[in-house]
């Protein structure tokens, strides 16, 4: 009766099923990402009032904070997928972990760039060796290390397993990034948005931020689905279901 959920999940783990599933969801996720992103940008750049201290310069928060959340979220996804790949040897988990890495690296890079653009007018410096900035930079290097290790192997599945192992070792950095502002009292401000309890931010500014967070999540999903689909075709090339897709494409 209630065991259709594990059954469905089990089926989803097989490459052809996931290929179709991701193909069906990908356009929806992308549309939602673009739509929510546009709404959030309009709300953040036009509707939200200027900050009483920072003026209009604070508006970069609508890019900076969602990217920072995504950088940690994607690393966590990569770590969990890597763990699943190593323990149960599921091919799909390997692909998800490895295809998450470039997206996560991009979000981390955006976080660092927007942060330094914001830091220049507010702190008077592009960069400072603050705990949160440094740990975010380390996060970027961890992403790059995972990508580098993956591509160093000739056998892709072996490379994926090795890189997944590295991702699991590096996951210790994620809580350090998250709690760095509480543990070390340095230049970067503490958290303004609280999931539990009162946020230190007016609703006019908060809703575009939360909308943008949703938009980046959907963007990640869309981008991941597209990358995983391509990767699955490459990995499973020569199998029947891939050949059938190729034949359909030829007919079209």
């Amino acid at each position: 009766m209630s065991n259709w959920i594990p059954l469905w999940l089990h089926k989803l783990g097989s490459p052809p099923t996931f290929y179709r599933f991701a193909g069906a969801l990908q356009p929806w996720a992308m549309t939602l990402a673009l739509l929510l992103g546009a709404v959030a940008l309009y709300g953040g750049l036009v509707l939200a009032p200027a900050d009483y201290q920072q003026g209009d310069a604070y508006r970069i928060i609508f890019i900076h904070v969602p990217s920072a959340w995504m950088s940690m979220f994607i690393y966590a996804v990569m770590g969990v997928a890597g763990f699943i790949a190593l323990v149960w040897r599921i091919k799909l988990a390997e692909v998800v972990a490895m295809e998450s890495a470039p997206i996560g690296a991009a979000f981390t890079f955006i976080t660092l760039v927007t942060g330094s653009l914001w830091g220049k007018p507010m702190w008077g410096t592009w960069w400072t060796w603050d705990a949160r900035l440094t740990s975010e930079l380390v996060l970027l290097f961890l992403f790059l290390g995972v990508i580098g290790l993956y591509h160093a192997f000739e056998d892709r599945r072996q490379g994926a397993r090795a890189a997944a192992f590295l991702a699991i070792i590096g996951i210790i950095n994620v809580p350090i990034v998250h709690f760095s502002v509480n543990w070390w009292n340095t230049l970067h401000q503490g958290s303004t948005v609280n999931v539990f309890g009162q946020s230190k931010m007016s609703w006019d500014m908060l809703w575009p931020l939360l909308t943008m967070t949703l938009a980046t999540k959907f963007y990640y999903a869309a981008s991941l689905f597209r990358r995983v689909r391509t990767d699955l075709l490459a990995l499973e090339g020569g199998k029947d279901w891939v050949r059938r897709i190729a034949e359909d494409e030829v007919d079209r």
């Binding site: 290390g145 290790l149 160093a152 192992f165 590295l166 070792i169 590096g170 950095n173």
Partner: protein
């Protein structure tokens, strides 16, 4: 067939690696020479100003030792992979993690220990006050095994790849940031006459954790890297 006891296997492993290293003594000298030359470059690059050199001495010695160890890390399993003895080790009845732990110990003795021996000389070249040198040595004694252990896990991961030198640096350096922070923190605190026990204790705690976990992780990584 009876297996030799664990202690016999461990000491045999250690003796074998140390003998191999001793037969190629020139390789042991290389990281030491490298560290000395890098230390010598700093006064040229920054100017021979005593106060400036004194301020950066602790950090420079730590980072130089780290880089010298990184250069030598690559060789940890290289020859064993070439002649196939690493696969024999994986197949051996003794626990792989323990055997790898012995290999890491041997590697630490042959690369890190010489560097620690010349560390006072490097510190003196940069005019680090004599009173701080014991703290620097203590920090190095705790930090270098940590780097060897962490490095061993990553070397094991790259065991199946062709060109691993730069990749190893890219993977290891972010992970050893905490070790550098605490070791340099201890030296800086000692230099300013502040209590330096807290960062050293953190290093010790991290080392204890690594001694337990790293050989296991290294064994797991090696199994991943070797099954092709």
């Amino acid at each position: 067939m009876s297996h030799p006891s664990l202690a016999t296997a461990c000491s045999a492993m250690l003796r074998r690696d140390l003998t191999l290293a001793w037969r190629r003594r020139g390789d042991i000298a290389m990281p030491v020479l490298y560290a000395l030359i890098v230390t010598m470059l700093f006064p040229f690059a920054l100017g021979p100003e005593d106060t400036l050199l004194q301020r950066i001495a602790g950090g420079v010695v730590l980072v130089t030792v780290l880089l010298a160890m990184l250069l030598a890390l690559d060789a940890m399993f290289a020859s064993d992979i070439e002649d196939g003895s690493l696969e024999q080790l994986v197949l051996a009845p003794q626990p792989l993690a323990l055997m790898l732990g012995m290999k890491i110990l041997a590697h630490w003795i042959t690369t890190a220990l010489p560097l620690i021996v010349i560390a006072p000389l490097m510190a003196a070249m940069l005019h680090l006050p004599g009173a701080v040198i014991p703290v620097l040595l203590l920090a190095l004694l705790l930090a270098t095994p940590l780097l060897s252990l962490l490095g061993a896990v990553l070397v094991a991961l790259t065991a199946g790849t062709r060109r691993s030198g730069m990749l190893l640096a890219l993977m290891l350096l972010p992970l050893c940031v905490p070790a550098v922070i605490f070791a340099a923190g201890a030296v800086a605190a000692a230099q300013q006459g502040l209590p330096w026990l807290a960062p050293v204790s953190w290093l010790g705690a991290a080392l204890v954790l690594a001694v337990v976990l790293a050989p296991l992780a290294c064994a797991a990584a090696l199994r991943i890297a070797l099954d092709a």
